[in-house]
Symmetry: C2
Subunit: 233 residues, 2 copies
């Protein structure tokens, strides 16, 4: 008799990091339910990438969840504010979407509790990152505590764990981990400000962090190859 796998909910944006985390959850033996948010982002390319990743990871279920926090405004990812290019700063950038990960984790928590899962995976990192407050370990730990107080877990029905396997990894390490798992990097979408055909801009914060990762791992980024760009190394 085969033992039933433990269920997990994985937040899947369709970017490189969440695709590696999806592979990580599968590799760790979880029965994966993936959730992707249509939250008012300016382009839907990452949602298409998420669908490809969910399919190739053979998840049990993939939900694209509508939740238009973009209507509140306040971010370059959902508003007509320009995405900055080639900018170095220590401040929280304009691409920060107010409380996005709190919202996404909460909905994932509702989904997890509804199906009886107690494990939630998210692809945040606090090493090579944009400085978003909701990507830091202290936020993830606090959310986990809140989750265990605001659900049936508070009455002893199983403890929720928020897994953030990339939280202390560099982009290089994330690329290497994904390579090890055989992640289809070509069908991940990272750029904040792509061309109409999906070509990455290569100068937004997100593209630059991705480039750094591939460069330091000594690998070619298949997305750039596909776009017919010259290798940046």
């Amino acid at each position: 008799m085969t033992q039933k796998k433990k269920q997990a909910v994985v937040l899947l944006s369709g970017g490189m990091d969440s695709s590696v985390v999806l592979a990580d959850a599968v590799h760790k033996g979880f029965d994966v339910h993936a959730i992707t948010f249509r939250y008012g982002q300016r382009h839907g390319m990452e949602i298409e990438a998420a669908k490809v990743q969910a399919k190739s990871a053979l998840v049990s279920k993939h939900i694209v969840f509508d939740l238009n926090i973009g209507q509140f405004g306040g971010s370059a990812l959902t508003d007509i504010i320009d995405v900055p290019h080639n900018v170095e700063s220590n401040e929280i950038p304009v691409t920060y979407v107010p409380a996005r990960n709190t919202v996404f984790l909460s909905v994932a928590l509702s989904y997890a509790e509804s199906i009886g899962a107690r494990d939630i995976f998210i692809g945040v990192s606090s090493v090579d990152y944009s400085g978003y407050p909701d990507c830091r370990p202290e936020f993830i730990e606090s959310f986990e505590a809140t989750a265990n107080l605001g659900t049936r877990a508070a009455d002893g029905e199983g403890h929720f764990t928020i897994h953030a396997p990339l939280i202390r990894l560099t982009k290089e390490e994330t690329v290497r981990l994904g390579e090890m798992y055989g992640v289809d990097f070509e069908h991940t979408h990272t750029c904040y400000d792509p061309g109409p055909d999906g070509t990455p801009c290569e100068t937004c914060d997100s593209c630059r962090l991705r480039e750094k990762g591939f460069k330091e791992a000594g690998m070619a980024d298949p997305v750039l190859k596909r776009a017919g760009k010259r290798e940046s190394r």
Copy 2:
């Protein structure tokens, strides 16, 4: 020159408690932005009640936000599971919607941060309540801590406060407070399982708590009067 009022986001379900909280926020001098969730609940009567309450409280803005956590299942309020009537129990009831208040507070947080508000009001109570874990003080305190770690507040840009003015009030005290503020109780909706014309069942947990409140306050509930019911006292 008049001083600009501080903004607050108020979670408004259209029930008695959140309507009293709305009045409380207005009374305390906040410029109120109300948010109501269409989350897959089985009847839309509370949303209509919320619109009436928001209008009579002269809020600056009222958003009805779509977010279908009901699609995950797992609650009598969103599924075809029967709402229990006349049931006494110490367990979390089947009307609990998984992580509902975590989700609602998160979206309210995103809204608040987007408009520059730092105050969020919610009508939870842990005295005369259904036993939902996400109505208890320790959950609200933990959520507040998480909110201050997962937003710009973490980098010193203003501290978020989650106001739960009813959290230690009995239903009687809530009714009295609402009466003091002149809340239009007739246009609040409380029942989990109303008749097609909105008539409360008077036997679900929510109706019974409301009845207790009015009874102990020595007042007639105008909703029952409207429905042409005999006074239950």
